[in-house]
Point group: C2
Chain length 444, copies 2
Amino acid sequence: MRIVVIGGGAAGIGAAGAAKGADPSAEVVVYTEDTDVAYSPCGIPFVHGKEIDSFERLFLATKEQYVATGIDVRYETAVEAINLSARTVTVAGEGEAAYDRLVIAAGWQYADPEVPGADLDGIYEVKYIRRAMEWDERLDSCKAAVIVEAGPVAMEMVSALVHRDIKVTVVDPAPWPMADVIDPDIVEPVRQSWEDHGVDMQWGNRVTAFTGDGTLSGVATEAGPVEADLAIIGTHKVANNPLAAAAGLKLGATGGLIVDSRMQTSDPNVYAAGDCTEIPHGVTNVPLQGLSGSHAYAQGKTAGTNAAGGTRHYRPVYVPWGMLAGEWMIGGVSFGETLATALGMKHVVGKAQGITRARYYPGVKPITVKLLAEPETLRLIGAQMVGGEGIKERADFLAMAVRVGITAEELATMENVYSPAIGALNEPISVAAQNLLAGLAGSQ
Amino acid sequence: MRIVVIGGGAAGIGAAGAAKGADPSAEVVVYTEDTDVAYSPCGIPFVHGKEIDSFERLFLATKEQYVATGIDVRYETAVEAINLSARTVTVAGEGEAAYDRLVIAAGWQYADPEVPGADLDGIYEVKYIRRAMEWDERLDSCKAAVIVEAGPVAMEMVSALVHRDIKVTVVDPAPWPMADVIDPDIVEPVRQSWEDHGVDMQWGNRVTAFTGDGTLSGVATEAGPVEADLAIIGTHKVANNPLAAAAGLKLGATGGLIVDSRMQTSDPNVYAAGDCTEIPHGVTNVPLQGLSGSHAYAQGKTAGTNAAGGTRHYRPVYVPWGMLAGEWMIGGVSFGETLATALGMKHVVGKAQGITRARYYPGVKPITVKLLAEPETLRLIGAQMVGGEGIKERADFLAMAVRVGITAEELATMENVYSPAIGALNEPISVAAQNLLAGLAGSQ
């Protein structure tokens, strides 16, 4: 059994490891265009921001360790074509390579801003570690950066650039940061903290060109020019599927590969995982593309297990998410009010402001929780949060609550740990649910 | 309508406020033997330990603020008897006081160690704020303390006394700290951190007398004498129900008042809330006495609402708990292996060691999660955790998981937030569930 994996990110490495686990006798080859595998690209903004002292710390394992596991990783090697009927891939510099099962984990790219000047020196897509190492040295001499749309990685880069004393201008056609995911009231403290740090935010504006003579000197926007010696691309993620499309594999509306619960594509010998796929949302059944590294890894394990003859299923997603933003943590599950309204989903809302420890305990932080429920059943359908700690754990909880159909009534009567150093008397999730129910009672 | 509340802790104050909320015209009188209400007794060990700089910070509201809410609080006033048929209470210095509805929120006391010498000066029950203020000054001159059984508050006092450079000896007949609640593998890091700080732990030993001439100079134990100028009582909580018992109200096996879901006692005009009650456990239906301040407050709101003619129900409990212990946070839900085994509950176990952020992110902490499930259904029945952060939020989640019947299979496939600064690629709850399932598969 020869299993070929295209891509060395979380999905590809997860798939390779799971395939070896399911069938230790399988020959597993991973092709990656990157110089490295087994590092955490998500850590890059924090090295730039100097929260983490070295890029070396982002590596999870050495190349030698992969050799020891029996996985054959071919670095800086592009796959140029997939031939489904011959069950081969065309590898740059190697020619045809046969597979019994193929796992496509080709990942994502930033959406092309589609404006002139994209070849100027000074435009940085935060993605690959060797490129990040080069850029990190260059940041010392950068004076002014423009953020071309404030996607999640770009939001983390805002903080990093502020920490590096680089003047930051955000140009984004949306009305507030990450407007497709987060509600304005929840992201307001982040916007405020950026403002306090001198970030120039141009919401509702759009970059129309990169300008400069060989090297970037600024951008043109609909509202006028912005001087900058650095442009960070923060456009949304698009599935990296030119190969799959050319091979005739079925893509969905998002551009992601359509897969079943076994992560099998439209070709029975081909599996896919990670950001190049699309996965149905558990509430709406709408396909989503561009989830987290944790999702990619779990999908990779599913794809690799099945490719090697095992059985593992992946489930629809409810998408807990969270991140640092400015001096805050933000996060949520599934839908906020903005997205639910845009999708025409009926919903009722409850919101609460609380605290994370006893009000007198050192390190206590504020936290705001907003819950959305389906009006008839009162089943939770989404959540939004901003605070100082405990966002990730609450998002994980609430994603499970949405999955299993927990109602606002259950959450309103939930028990919670109370101990001054680690939790407050009242849990804000519970208070938000109580407020949701009180709002319904009040409106009847 | 005249509502009398006995007790000014979280349950009594919760009841008084809820009664006023349900019926603003009601006359609400709270009798408390304490000098104050509306402070957080749970914060006392942390003021002793100097994490919190002043006892003043533990007060939630002033006495004047209570007057403004229309609640009549009578401080340092003992209720001496309850007459159910006359619907009166006998108040020290006041005589008979009539009620339409009575709420008993008389709280708890430390179990009497029942050894000679209990009247010596130098024995400290950590409970009341004015007494804590007096003791705090005295701690400066204390040299050596003995902990008489390591209940939760006493465990926090171990850390406080270590911070105050007082030599600590723990004498407890149990085999490890809080052995009725926590498993030895989970509490081992705490035991180790105490050992590192020079705490002398005498598990399986028992105090047989307090010794000294007027003032405490030590304790006698089954294993020999221990010198000490301070003894901290850390015995378990017992319900403070001599009044209720004398009045003929029905008490359960724990000594707690038996209440229905409306917190009504065996007398229809009498409600009860907090540590003087017993509440059924949601899985076993076994009555529990001595829960948290959060439980007491919620029960108080239920009792007060119903006493004032409203309707509110309290539900069986699953008891998420958590606390600081040594340099760790410990916590859990319902049962650990030790307690489940003692109760004869069949269970299967999965355990995982994980981390709370990306392994390279500053402030990352270890965390161990152990899950217990019912063998046939794989429904979660308990959890135990030890780690550096995120224990409270996970305990809240898992308590809801036990309540609604979430299975190990659901937890094994849960989604989780991955973002380097706030969460790791793999959620330890999920990995523990995966390990539980793998253990089952391996044993078949």
